[in-house]
Symmetry: C2
Subunit: 408 residues, 2 copies
């Protein structure tokens, strides 16, 4: 490997509140290692945009002040893509990509994303091996879904979980202001893994508090059982708050949201989910004489800057830094992962490296043993796991009364 090479970084998949903290970590660590990394490029719209020559020199693009703002700006500063590389290395796209890498004298490739993005890191590193390229490919984990395997948590989850737990605790207050029975259904993101929806349990002050019913995609959903659970809950509580994951499905595997409308399919073959809360709202209206409303937490749960978890934010930043250092140390086909330590009761997250082949295209689900009461409740083990991840608040600069962000 030549002594001085360039690095390139991209962001891929859905935005989060801290994906730019990881980008910040990559940039500052790259800039610190001037002796090995000459330039740090940023792909615009990930690998898809890079294929169309969309990239910038990050060392020249941001002032020091903008770099500071990047740390707490949600969404993806470099923009994103949902682009899947072909399965076969014979496809011309691989040759094209490596020609572009070589033109730019790329020695280090850093990709911030979820399991689909790790698929990109895996394929590129295998192709590099095949053609004898010395480029290092490192994945930096990101997803609010917390569904990456071989890591204690994934940056983005802690902040989204803090948003969910805080917002549900406010919705619970709002739901109880009027006399008479009512049902509030809150729909939370999560296609196959229920981690984020389970975080709603952190809103509870005491056992038996709202949200009294929590439904995850890990357990088959049954309409009749649901109505039975609800009737039972209404015997104990006037105002029932229910949290449901967007991805709940029935025993046949049909998504509950599909009971209302056609679901679009994205490029990775995932169904774009929306509306299981509305489906449940309609069924309750049809079958029970009770006031009911549904609320979708929607994109705010992944892009809100006002409830960024400090431990999540620090983890995201550190994952970016450690990714750069791993590449510099000659590692490739690796993803930065987290392990958990406790020092005097405080959680600390340490970074390690795992084989990206063991991570990509896999999903970590909530253990069955953590799901209780016929799939309507979450265990204390989950609380012990998740509570440390929502601790602390990142300090957000304000301007003109609203959070101040950096714009590309």
């Amino acid at each position: 490997m030549k002594s001085k090479r360039n690095a390139i970084v991209g962001q891929s998949g859905g935005p989060t509140a801290v994906i730019n903290a990881s980008l910040y970590g990559v940039i500052i660590e790259a800039l610190k290692n001037k002796s090995k990394i000459e330039r740090i490029y940023g792909m615009i719209n990930g690998i898809e945009g890079f294929l169309q020559n969309q990239f910038i020199d990050l060392g020249n693009s941001l002032t020091m002040e903008e770099l500071e703002l990047l740390k707490t700006t949600p969404s993806a500063y470099l923009s994103s893509c949902r682009y899947k590389l072909p399965e076969k290395f014979e496809d011309a796209v691989f040759k094209t990509l490596f020609e572009k890498f070589n033109e730019l004298n790329i020695g280090y490739f850093y990709y911030i994303g979820g399991n689909d993005s790790m698929d990109t890191v895996s394929k590129l590193s295998h192709y590099a091996e095949k053609i004898g390229s010395d480029i290092r490919f490192i994945g930096i984990p990101k997803t609010i879904d917390n569904d990456l395997v071989l890591t204690d948590t994934t940056p983005g989850f802690g902040s989204a979980a803090k948003y969910v737990a805080s917002t549900i605790s406010e919705i619970i207050l709002d739901a109880s202001v009027y006399n008479g029975q009512s049902v509030t259904i809150v729909e939370i993101m999560g296609r196959h893994a229920g981690w984020l929806t389970a975080a709603s349990v952190l809103s509870r002050k005491n056992k038996g508090d709202n949200p009294v019913l929590i439904y995850l995609p890990e357990v088959s959903f049954d309409f009749e059982k649901f109505l039975t659970h609800l009737k039972k809950a209404l015997q104990k509580k006037n105002n029932v708050v229910i949290c449901v994951s967007e991805g709940i499905k029935d025993a046949s595997g049909k998504f509950i949201c599909e009971y209302t409308s056609e679901a679009a399919i994205d490029k990775f073959g995932h169904k774009a989910l929306k509306g299981c809360g509305s489906v449940l709202e309609r069924i309750i209206k049809e079958r029970m004489n009770i006031k009911v409303r549904s609320v979708e937490l929607s994109i705010n749960q992944r892009c809100s800057s006002s409830l960024i978890s400090l431990i999540d934010h620090n983890g995201a930043l550190e994952a970016g830094r450690q990714g750069v250092l791993a590449g510099l140390a000659g590692e490739t086909r690796k993803m930065v992962a987290f392990t958990r330590d406790r020092i005097n009761d405080d959680l600390t997250l340490s970074c390690s490296l795992v084989d990206v082949d063991d991570v990509c295209n896999k999903e970590k689900l909530i253990p069955n043993a953590w799901i209780l009461d016929e799939g309507t409740n979450i265990s204390e083990e989950f609380v012990d796991y998740a509570l440390p991840l929502i601790q602390g608040q990142a300090n957000i600069p304000f301007e003109n009364g609203i959070p101040r962000f950096v714009y590309r």
Copy 2:
């Protein structure tokens, strides 16, 4: 009037992030005036709950620590109602209410709410005059809609506007991460007045930025014109963010949300609105070949504690205090109102009193001159008006990673 009487306070209408700051103001000012006010009672579920003997002694119910938490707890601590007093004084409910007031030796009645609640204050004060009762009736303003007349602003609006402006600025970032054209529709609360939706203009960094189209209930909505506006906007911008008020209606007066489903009607005859964003999403899907999604800010815009405006919060607290003092000074049939002063470029709000008869059942709309570009844009006059109201952040205590609230 006997030298020592009791006071009673209630909350009515929709919750806000600062209605409990007004309640805090009432409680501390009442407790300060021990020589005149012996007890401060709180009606549970407003006048409706009080009729069923639902009330508590607030002097005994809250510890000092809980009282402090009350200041930043959103939603209505005393719970709320949407109860309209009969039009005719012959109705037995008035006699019943005043018998209950007398049983409790009530001398002062404070009601925190919007224009429907001011109708309650007006009717009770007129009835008191008719029967020769010396009870003082004072209204304390509250509504996120900012639609009360004779006051510069209404507590609740500033915080909701800060939430809207901040959240839209995050949605704008989120909306621009993928390549290709897209439309994001954000639906914001506001039945007849567009103040809160207009606050989305505060998200813009520069002229021409998103949200590029803003639709208010003050202007008739036309589907064909809307599609023309949108096509024009897409010529300038890849990712268009549109903000619409839940209450937009067509030239015939039909709510746009009614194009999808039956709208329920509440006790005051207001239609419960939901879904004009979905209606517009569907129409764009049918008529244009473009990626589109709709987001409802839903109840979080009125009950989020994470973006409470400091000036709004202080105003709410002061309105509660001044309401108590007005009653003690012998005033009745009055509402606390705000006037605006500028001291060294900083906005300060001062409290005054207005006749509640001139406020109740009226709605303040956005002036026509402030609505530009065929009803799709908001003028600088609005920005000058609204920007000072979202300044500063209230300090929220946290516990276990989420905001700490007081529960009744």
